[in-house]
Every structure is written in structure tokens, then in C-alpha cells.
């Protein structure tokens, strides 16, 4: 169990790992995540399950190297065993036929978006996806996203791929063109804040998948708490998806920095 069977670099800093975890593969649905810990001295970090293969009993995780643990995970090789993986955790995405779904994925947020795009398409929706990143090499999983999207728009900050501009510009273009029944936004908190402001302007129901700091991932510690609709909610058990228009993104942005500058070891993953 927990053996790495495949490893692929999607970009310089983004690694895809396929891991043998049959129980989790069996149960996982789009939107679920796992908590991963590497070795006795490791910390527990959440990683979204990007896809799963029930026959082979594998799950796919996509990791961007940012903090101590994501580096540790990304540096593992085929054949290595991940000491601790638990899940699938969180609430799955409510997959329904609603009509036209606009999906927005920013940077490494494209990885968790991937299974949702697939599930939304399979449920009979028209799916339009906007992928955004700083530059071309950070646009990941494009083939897989294209496979399940009716249309894909790519936006890069530097114009090295697709159109030059922000994710919101790509989205607004679509919104002005056709009726959108549901929007889903996953990416850095700052991106979700602005995409959410945009869809609010157009009154489009929007889900955001939040990336708060976690410890246990089972509702036991409250590290992951966020304010949604004026109430404190735990991302790991009540989320990770919430009504984006109700989320206090400014608070989330501050909370994500909780452990940043304190000491060297405190560079967090998310």
C-alpha cells in the first residue's frame, strides 16, 4: 500500500504521482482530498485527489513544490512508499446536470479542477474551462481538461501561451457571450477572490474549493476554519467547496500566511 507506481513532471515545479491506495481509490469522488505525511518527522498536508483508477487501485496526486513537505513528496521516486495517506476526506463536489458550467482553474488549482471538469461533463453539462497561470509551463493537465471540456480558454500573465491577461478576463468574455448556470473556481485564494467578485456581479452561483492550512483533516483541530456566510466552518469536513459569494476571502488570505515568516521550517505547502 501507498507505493508510488508512476511519476511524471508536468512542469519544472509540478509533479504527478500515481500511488497504489486501493481503498481510497474505491471511495474517492471528485472534490475529495487526502492527508499525506512523509516519514516520522513529517507534517500532515492536504492534497486533492486529481483522479483515480479503481481497477488498478491507484490515486493520482499533483504536487507543486512550494514548502518542505511538497518538496519531500515531489522528490519521492517510483517504488517508494508514502508512510501515511489517509482519506478520502472532505465532502465530494455535488455533481448535477445544471446546463452550462464555467470552470476556472489557476496554477496548481488546475489539478483539483480536473476531476470536477470530468464529472461535470459526464453528468451531461456543457463545460467551458478557463485555465490560467503566470506562464506557459505552469499550465498543466491541458489534454485531460480538453478531453472533458466543450471549450478551453487559456490565459497567461505574460502571454507566453493562450491569451495574455487575467483569468477573470477570460471568464467575463464567456459570461458576456452565453448564459452560465454554475461557475467553479479553484486556485490561489487571491484568484478565487477576484473570480468570485466577478461572478457575483453577474449573479452566477459559484463554488470555490478552499485551500486552508490543515493538520488532522478530520475536524479535530480547527486549523482549517474559515468564515462562510458569517459563520465559522471547517474546510476539512464541511468543505473544501463552499458558496464562493459567502466566503470571507480576505480572512482566508491572512490565515494562509499564519505560519509563513515565523521560522525557516514554516514555509507551508498551500
Amino acid at each position: 500500500m501507498n507505493k508510488i507506481v508512476e511519476k511524471e513532471y508536468l512542469s519544472d515545479k509540478v509533479v504527478k504521482l500515481v500511488i497504489h491506495a486501493p481503498l481510497i481509490a474505491q471511495k474517492r469522488k471528485a472534490g475529495h482530498f487526502v492527508i499525506v505525511k512523509i516519514g516520522e518527522k513529517g507534517e500532515r498536508i492536504p492534497l486533492t485527489i486529481s483522479s483515480a483508477d479503481t481497477e488498478k487501485g491507484t490515486i493520482t496526486l499533483i504536487i507543486q513544490k512550494v514548502g518542505v513537505t511538497s518538496h519531500k513528496v515531489a522528490n519521492l521516486e517510483v517504488g517508494d512508499i508514502i508512510s501515511d495517506i489517509s482519506g478520502p476526506l472532505g465532502q465530494p463536489t455535488a455533481i448535477k446536470k445544471v446546463g452550462t458550467v464555467l470552470c476556472a482553474g489557476g496554477g496548481v488549482g488546475i489539478a483539483p479542477l480536473n476531476p470536477i471538469v470530468e464529472a461535470m461533463k459526464k453528468a451531461g453539462n456543457k463545460v467551458i474551462t478557463v485555465l490560467a497561470a503566470r506562464s506557459k509551463d505552469l499550465i498543466i493537465l491541458e489534454d485531460s481538461i480538453r478531453k472533458y471540456s466543450d471549450e478551453v480558454i487559456i490565459m497567461t500573465d505574460d502571454g507566453s501561451y493562450g491569451k495574455k491577461g487575467l483569468v477573470t478576463e477570460g471568464m467575463e468574455e464567456i459570461i458576456n457571450r452565453e448564459k452560465i448556470d454554475l461557475a467553479i473556481t479553484i486556485g490561489p485564494a487571491i484568484m478565487m477572490k477576484y473570480t468570485s467578485l466577478l461572478t457575483k456581479k453577474y449573479n452566477i452561483h459559484t463554488l470555490a474549493s478552499l485551500n486552508s492550512i490543515m493538520v488532522d483533516g478530520t475536524g479535530m483541530c480547527g486549523a482549517c476554519r474559515v468564515t462562510v456566510g458569517g459563520e465559522t466552518r471547517f474546510v476539512c469536513v464541511d468543505g473544501p467547496e463552499f458558496d464562493a459569494h459567502e466566503v470571507d476571502f480576505d480572512e482566508l488570505l491572512l490565515r494562509l500566511k499564519a505560519y509563513n515568516p515565523a521560522t525557516e521550517k514554516n514555509t507551508k505547502n498551500n
Binding site: 481503498l23 507534517e43 495517506i85 476526506l89 475536524g219 479535530m220 515565523a262 521550517k265
Partner: protein, 493 residues
Amino acid sequence: MSDLMSNNIKQDREEEWRIDLRKSIKAKDRTALERIRMPEVEPNIRVKSHIEVNMGLSPEQAIAEAGRCLDCVNPTCMEGCPVGVNIPKFIKYIEAGLLAEAANTLNQTNMLPAVCGRVCPQEIQCEANCFYTLKLHKPAVGIGNLERYVADWCLNNQENIAENKIVTGPKVAVIGGGPAGLTAAGDLARLNYQVTIFEALHDFGGVLKYGIPEFRLPNNIVNFEIEKLKKEGVKFVKNFVVGKTATLEDLREEGFQAFFIGSGAGLPRFMNIPGENYNGILSSNEYLTRVNLMNASNPEFDTPVDMGKNVAVIGGGNTAMDSVRTAKRLGAERAIIIYRRSIDEMPARKEEIHHAIEEGIEFITLTNPIEYFADSHGNVNKVRVQKMELGEPDSSGRRKPVPINGSEYDIAIDQVIVSVGVSPNPIVPKSIQNLAISKWQTIEVNPETMQSNIEGVFAGGDIVRGGATVILAMGDGRKAAAGIHQYLQDRAN
């Protein structure tokens, strides 16, 4: 206590060695002895590390303390023990120098004596009912200290560790590796059931590991008890969140015939006051988990923890005491308890409050936080508190704190640990259809058998009681094991 049990206790007492031992010292001379004080590491030394505060009795001290026990005809102390340890018997074995026998006596009723000897609130249980307390109005026999002495002796002499046992009976699943689950598993394994403990975290022990700090209950003690259970044939599966990784139904299909849910009360409560989500404000569960389970204060480990200089801990229970004393050990200059009632109403054990005072913890009582403030980075820097006075007794029988208008003032702090209670973790209960749950989200059970309204599904510990104690969780685990045994036997016939 059943008649059968009390008969056994009487018979035991009439054994020759005990009669002789009783006669060897006059009762008057026994009662003239002073209670032996538990040796402790000096406060100014212990706050600089995570070393265990209580050092344990020496053999001479233990025998002397055991000599105080009168071996009463009617041992009232036992009525105060939730699992009915044969207290005079194990104590008299100590006096006789027969430690292996003392250990056996303890092990018959108490699966985790090294744990209980350290964390049980003896002062309101056995020791509160000791003849010395009730009739002589003198300090009780040090039952807890003696229990710990015997358990530690076992640990160091590992003699009565059985060989790896093979169990062959029906499969039983235990959900949660805290004291309730460990006890149920141990009892069931001794009845030859194939028991598997499924634990959500990456380590076993529940609150004993992630909550109660090293300076009160070293992890190696808990590990020792877990190793013992492994030898008894119990299987341990980590990183397995029942209700997520698999449901009870899935486990039924895997051949598990009965279930014990001991998933604890792991959901931290907050006060829902303004500013509570600022950085630097965390639940005691998060704080203690980072430090105890994840080893965050050790630079070799990856998990971070803030080490506040001025730390306020909100609450007056064991969890609050553990948090504030941990903060002191992580270098806090001011470590403050803020509690809305007075020190007399604090639910924490007396010993812990006493140790905290010795360690320089400040107590701001009859005071409640009402709002937090933060700097421009969202880091908490101030708490506004309000003074309280005690009014009429409330439903818990304690006098209800009432705010005093206009008494607000601010305290500068850089970390807050909220320790105002826990609720049951809903993951397991929610995953079982039609399970009867109370309005406090606890699982409802038949108090005799610990069976829930669903056949073959039993529960105990904090998931049934809300936040309670280690020994009550263990008592539940024991009762449930008996209930499961009965249930499976009835089914087989």
C-alpha cells in the same frame, strides 16, 4: 458491585497471607503514618523541558505508603473506582513485596494502569472514598501513586508480557484507538475475538497521544500499553477514517460481525466572538496536536507551531491546564489562564492546578474574553475581557457567571488557545444510517450493554458521554466488550 464480585473480594481478603500482613502492624500505627508525597521535578527546572513532572515513588516509599492502607473489611475506595479495581488487594501485594501479583491484580480490571495511575482524578474517585478521607479526615492512601508504581515496575521489568497470542474467534472492529477503543479491544482479544482497531490518525492512543502532554503522560507509556495489546493479538490499522475510507457496511462485508465505536469527542468548540479567526488564535486541540503528536517544538520535525511570548488560554479544564503549561515550556514569558468562574469551580484536576501555580502560570479568574484585536497582518495582539460575578447555580449545579457591565479591559497577548470544550466528532455517527443520536450529537446506547439502536453496533467513551475522563472511557470499553461477547454468543446459538 455485584454480589459475586463482593464475595470474591471478601474471600481474597481472608487468604492467610493477608490476614498475617494485617496483623503485622497495628491499625493505630498504620494511621499514624504520614502520606508519602510524590517526588516532583523542581518547577524552575521542569518548565525548561517536557520532562515528566511526577517522578514516581521509590520502592521504600511505595511499601511505606502501602502500609498505611488498613485493608478494610468494607473497602469503600473501590466504590469510587469506575472499573472496580481490587484496590486493597493490589496495595497489600505491594506491602508484601509481591509486585508481579500486584500487577496481575491491576491488569484484571484495568487495561491501562500506567496511564490511569497518572491521569485519573483519584481525588474525586477512589481516594475521595478511602476510609482515611471519609472517617479519619486525613489524607487518603495514595492509591493513584501506588497504581502508577506497580505499572511502572511492570514497564521496567516487562515480565508479564505474554508471548504473541493467536486469536481465532469472530472478527470485531473497533473504531478509534483512544482509551475506550484500546480497552474494548484488549478485553475482546482475551475472549479470543479477532479484533482490529481502525484509527483515523497516523498513531494510536487518541487523546493520550495527541492531547495529554509528555510532562504528564510520556508517550512511551502509551506505546508500551499498545505493544502489550499487539501481543494479545489485537491488530492495529492506522490512517483509516471509518465513514470515509470505508463504512461500517463495507466492514460488515469484510466479515466483521460486531463494532465498537470509540471515536471520541474530537470537535473543538469556539466561542464565536469577534476576531476569533485571527492568526495566533487556535484551539487547544490544534495546539496540543502540533506539539504532542507532531512534535512541532522539536526543530527536526516539519510541523510548525508559534511560540507565543504572551499567551492566554481560555478555559479551566485539564485541556486548558495542559495548554498553558505547554506554552510556558515553549518559552512564554506570560502564560495566563482566563476563566469565567473562580478557581474553585475549575474542572481541572486539583493536582494540575497546583502544578500550574507552582510553574508561574497566572490565573485571571471571573473574567471572560469578549473580543480579539489584531495587527495589520491579522496577527492577534490584544484580547478584550469582561469581569464576571457568580450568580445562581445553573443546571450543572455550579454558580453561573454573570458579566459585570462596564468592567471591560484589554490584555496584550500574541497567542490565544481556546479551550472551552469539545463535541463529538460527527464523521462516524453521520456515516451510519438511522443511528440514534442525542441533541448533543452523542451516540445513544443502552447503558447496560453499550449497544446502540443498531444491532451489533456498540459505543462508549467520549462519543457517548461528551468530553469525560480516561477511566470512564475505559469502563465503557470494558462494558461494551462484555456486551459484544454476549451479543455474539447469542447469535451463535
